[in-house]
Subunit: 138 residues, 2 copies
DNA sequence: GTTCCTGCAAAAGCTTTGCAGAAGA
DNA sequence: TCTTCTGCAAAGCTTTTGCAGGAAC
């Protein structure tokens, strides 16, 4: 659970201009257990920050993910999701309930023989299937 | 290199109605070395099948990927790509030239401790970075 | 004071939908 | 003949862009 103050210091260190909106968006992203879409962030923060616009959410998320402070996930086909945790881990999406689970995975063990002279900057792993919760309901 | 006849037989076996458009789209998908977007398929086939519409390409690709005859890739954020090869393999996308490379990978070795009671139906691995071709030009 | 950010409206891009006519079986 | 597909036009979504006013430093 990161506080606004902690986030504030993180941004200051990296010379990112502190705005109310950015801090709120980051706070939500770091503390949410989900991997929210822009729409989810918007709905969640609208009450607290009524003037907030989706444009600002897009701007903020794109900016911060360029700086590797957050990570954009490509799990859904039609909308972007964002993750406050940039450590390497895999994602599992349940086809029934749509929930996304994190799991640890050893990315270094992922070998790709043919990519010998390639520079690999990012490794992504995601699984799809049915989660234990949904399976037990059948 | 699959011919129209071979593709024809495959579809017949699975009781999928044979239409000129479907065969052409499948032919392109199986024989292209790339992982084309809808736009690329459209441009490539427009000369040969002038009446072809993107709607038909979308219909065909969605239908065939539901039947697991082709696979939809989620590599780009903003547009779907399709792959005629449904065997498990990883994808590498070069951030410089945008080219997508395939590589073999042992999906079974991908263990996910926390997903013990989950039913995993699909595993996806993709890497991003700079390919050897682009690296050598620097 | 200068620079950069916000947020509205509009535009852009990909994908889906509705439906009449056409083609496959 | 009956069913299913095609392809046009329109609509639906997510995301980006332009820009004037405002906030951060």
């Amino acid at each position: 659970m990161k506080t606004l103050n902690e986030l504030s210091n993180e941004l200051k260190k990296k010379n990112i201009r502190l705005t109310h909106q950015r801090l709120k968006i980051l706070e939500y992203l770091y503390n949410a257990k989900t991997h929210p879409t822009v729409e989810e962030i918007y709905s969640a923060l609208k009450k607290e920050v009524p003037s907030l616009s989706k444009t600002t959410i897009y701007n903020t998320l794109n900016y911060l993910s360029e700086l590797n402070i957050i990570k954009s996930l490509i799990i859904d086909e039609n909308e972007a999701r964002f993750d406050g945790v940039t450590d390497n881990h895999g994602h599992f999406k349940c086809s029934k309930c749509g929930k996304i689970y994190d799991f640890d995975i050893n990315m270094d063990a992922l070998a790709a023989d043919r990519l010998d002279n390639f520079e690999i900057n990012e490794k992504t792993v995601y699984f799809k299937g049915i989660c234990s919760g949904c399976l037990s309901k059948i």
